[in-house]
């Protein structure tokens, strides 16, 4: 019987009988087309293998000098299967978003048709529901992998593909970014503890469109009692709200960073410069590129029908980021906390519609600063 090659950069059906011996030992069938599929994916594939000394979880990069207290807790869970009937984005099989690469920097910023806008509203609503369900499980004691499982299940329930899954070979269905992690944290066996903050960055692909949003949540009551943590999280939330208020046709994208940076600076927070807001729709990431820092050189002017995200990342200390050896997890260089909020926005004739707006029952939400 044909199976799918376990290499995330392959994804082809194969009749091969070549299996990973480590997985076999643990009762898992990981089939590879040939040894080159196996070799080239080994450094990622091995992350689902349990530790050799029999401990529950382990740090796969013991020699790396981490900037904060957080450590990856491997093994990762197996790649979660996606139901056959769910429409896949082009990168789902081999990790390469060909359509995005082709569209890169053409200069045109898509304006959605009425029909697509209606679809977009629906997709956005579904993505909000999925985030809200997942976020309702955020509490001390849960692992980020468990949150990933919940999110994945909610996606499947709604016939949506979790966009991060295998996007440039990202191994999981959602990004979970704790404390000093700025973004792109990989769900693993890390247990949330009282006093942490965690960002859940959800994107789904549904009806041919992507919808992207994220929020940062306080884990337990301890986090809500730490003045710096609250200042960081609430300032970030406010930055996003202020930027959204300014959105209307005719605004230059480069102005948004000025608004965000001004409010961040006023609250003694720094703004991450490496990651930006982006256009979204049929593609996960496309034009425009929207930096969140002041005096940026973003290209373009807002027109009605454009859909894009604003997703400022603020830090208590340095704005500088570094990557873990997993090549995904971006953390602050000084190990201090970072927070992020993201909405997906539709520019209208007169202003803006927050496609991913919170509902009355959405978990999380602002808390008062502690003076």
């Amino acid at each position: 019987m044909a199976t799918v090659c376990a290499s995330p950069t392959c994804g082809k059906d194969t009749e091969s009988a070549l299996k990973c011996p480590v997985c076999l030992k643990n009762g898992v069938n990981s089939v590879f087309c040939d040894q080159s599929c196996f070799r080239s994916s080994w450094s990622v594939h091995k992350h689902i293998h349990p530790s050799e000394d029999g401990t529950d979880s382990y740090n796969p990069f013991p020699d790396f000098s981490f900037s904060g207290e957080l450590r990856p807790a491997y093994p990762l869970s197996d790649r979660r299967p996606v139901a056959k009937h769910i429409k896949l984005p082009d990168y789902a099989k081999n990790g390469k978003p060909i359509s995005e690469i082709k569209n890169d920097r053409v200069g045109r910023i898509t304006q959605l048709s009425e029909k697509d806008i209606k679809k977009m509203r629906k997709v956005s609503k579904v993505s909000r529901e999925i985030l809200d369900v997942t976020a309702s499980h955020v509490r001390p004691g849960i692992t980020t992998d468990e949150l990933d499982a919940i999110l994945h299940k909610e996606c499947m329930k709604r016939n949506a593909y979790p966009s991060p899954l295998n996007y440039y070979n990202f191994p999981k269905s959602v990004c979970t970014s704790i404390n000093e992690v700025i973004c792109h944290g990989i769900p693993d066996k890390t247990v949330l503890k009282d006093g942490d903050i965690i960002n859940l960055d959800v994107t789904i692909y549904y009806m041919g469109l992507h919808s992207d949003l994220n929020e940062t949540y306080y884990v337990g009551d301890k986090a809500k009692c730490d003045p710096d943590t609250v200042r960081l999280v609430e300032t970030t939330r406010e930055c996003l709200d202020l930027a959204i208020k300014a959105v209307k046709p005719g605004l230059a994208f480069r102005e948004l960073g000025n608004i965000i940076q001004a409010h961040a600076t006023k609250n003694d927070c720094s703004v991450v410069r490496t990651y930006c807001g982006h256009g979204i729709g049929e593609l996960f990431h496309c034009q425009p590129n929207i930096p969140h820092y002041a005096k940026n050189k973003a290209i373009g002017i807002i027109k009605p029908g454009m859909v894009f995200t604003i997703e400022p990342m603020l830090c208590l200390g340095t704005h500088k980021d570094m990557s873990w050896p997993d090549n995904w997890t971006a953390v602050t260089e000084d190990g201090k906390k970072s927070a992020q909020f993201e909405h997906m926005l539709l520019a209208t004739e007169t202003g803006v519609e927050v496609l991913t707006a919170r509902s009355e029952t959405s978990p999380g939400g602002p808390v008062a600063r502690i003076e």
């Binding site: 290499s7 995330p8 950069t9 392959c10 009988a17 070549l18 990973c20 011996p21 480590v22 590879f32 040939d34 040894q35 080159s36 599929c37 196996f38 070799r39 080239s40 994916s41 080994w42 450094s43 990622v44 594939h45 081999n94 990790g95 390469k96 060909i98 690469i101 082709k102 890169d104 920097r105 053409v106 200069g107 045109r108 440039y168 070979n169 046709p249 005719g250 230059a252 480069r254 102005e255 720094s270 703004v271 410069r273 034009q287 425009p288 820092y293 005096k295 940026n296 050189k297 290209i299 373009g300 002017i301 807002i302 027109k303 200390g317 340095t318 704005h319 500088k320 090549n327 000084d334």
Partner: protein, 674 residues
Amino acid sequence: MSNTVAQNIDSLKGWLEKNAFWRNELIIRPSKYGGIGVFAPDQMDYEDPLLLRIPKTSVLSAKNSLIYNLLVDYKYEEVDISTGMYGVIISVIYELSAGTKSPWYEYLNSIDFENSSVPVCLWDQDDKDNFKNTEVDLLNLLNPDELIQFYQECIKFAKASSQYVAIPAILNEDKASSAELVKLAQLHKFGQVVLSVISRAFKIDDYYDLGMVPGADLFNHMEPQLNGKNIVGHENIHFICDGSVCGECGEEDCDHEEELEMELDSDTEEIEDEEVDEVQETEFADQLNDADAESIAHGEDDGDDEDDDDEDDEDDDEDEDDDDDSSSEPDIESSQYDMDLESSVIEEEPIKEITMEYIKQMELEMENDSDADTNQDPDEESTVSLEGDEGEEGEDEEEEQEGEVDPEQDELAKELSDSSKCCDVVLVKLPEEIHEHEIFNSYGNELSNPYLLQRYGFITGQNVNDTCLLSVQVFKHIKHIKAGLSSEKQKQLELKFEWFEGMGFDIVNQLIGEHIQKEQKATKACGDKCEDNCDGCEEKDGCGAECEDGCEDGCGEEDDDELELPETWQLSPRINFTGECTLQTYAILTLLDLPFKIFKHKLLLVNKEKKLIRMIKEIFLEDQSSRSAHNAIIKNWCVQRLSGYPVLKPSSHHSLVKSMVEQEKAILQKFIDQ
């Protein structure tokens, strides 16, 4: 550069500090060569030739501008204003209009648009009358139609976009007809921006096309000089930018070519050609788009292009392999990629089972590979330091500990460390004391005065690229001969010129090109010897005192390769700066003389290309028996053209026109006196 505002230089330097690497010790002050110039200080350190490095993302180009998405969306009526020089000009107009909100505000503020000159096609009628019979007139550079058409398109764009962005003052115009427009002060303001941009734009690369490069445009022009028969550049700097990037995304290594190839297969080339043709339809735009091409080309490009392509192809192949074999780490360095690949492809037979032993061995190999791969290019790192003097290092560290590093500076340092994403101005020749150590660029070592005037608003005295066209006289001559012929012979004459236009001229032109290049090589003063001596002329002071003039011959490979030949036979009859007539002129006269029978059998009916080339060589180039008769005719043409200059009346640019006329007259006179 002539229209730089001296008072705003400090804020420009501030901009450069934030957005680029600029050699701070360089002195920017008034120059006797025009406006503001860049000078080397007495104790300049020439060890590092890099004077300016600026990220391509900070260049003011259409693709980097505020309005680029509006330009792309705009459905133009007459001219495409989203690309080429037009794209840069309209972008500059909007960035200017954005005032302090523009990321280029300090830079734009250093340019004196209001007191800039206007393109020569907008000069007043008295000047234009005085230009009659000059090259500027003959090359049709006085006709403002294309500029006006461009202006009208800009006005339409501004209106169409007014919903999203306020109409800049100079585009706020309701007059529709070109007759009304030409009288307007508005058009002159527009013209001032046009010339300011044209005179300062550089070709960046295939993706960004043309753009304004702050800092690089401060340098004044030094004209080339004649050394024997060769035109030799005397500039101190070169503008260098890796132009061989993907036109789609601006990256060097990307998937676009591969994708396109997959989709379009071999059609790709054809499509590109068509696009090029479209652009060339508008002569004005075409000429403009050539602007400053000299600053980029600089030899290496042309020669290496093919090689580069080959390399790319190889890369592509490897990429494809990667797809099949797959790699797990998205950001892994490509070289490591390759190594993994090689080891897996070359060494191994297909295996039936993966054993733990196999994995052990594999991990060992991978570890070795990644160890071998951690080398960085140390040169790259050291080229650009934002820290200033090394002595300050200690302070910098302290700063870092306090966490006070300016995030912008930090990011800039990162951007500047990748030279493939930057444009550089490098010193290629030491500044000289006789010019007070002013550092010069060359705006184009092939530019004659008419084109210098069109693009930069000035001319030089004794421009070695100047020529005098004799086209008008040639046409008159042919017409005169034709008038005396029977209708049958007239047809024969027409047939001859049809053949010349369709085929003959191209071959004649090519043969002449080869002939000139041979001659140039032969006259090289110190050819090979010099090449050896100063192989590294580009690098730094190799070009010093010992081999002075000769050395440029040896090192300036570009001069050989870029011989400019006239595009049509109609533009080919002319007198060169040296007072010699082009060989094409003799060819035209030979064609006129050629008995029809000989023409028919030796040229027209010859099918084999080799034979045809041999015949053409024989008839048009080797047979010089009628040279003196021809020279007499050409002398007469020169006299005719000399008599065509009007008596100059007072006009705003009287002295410039006078200088141009006198230089042209001198050239024509040189031929007559020979």
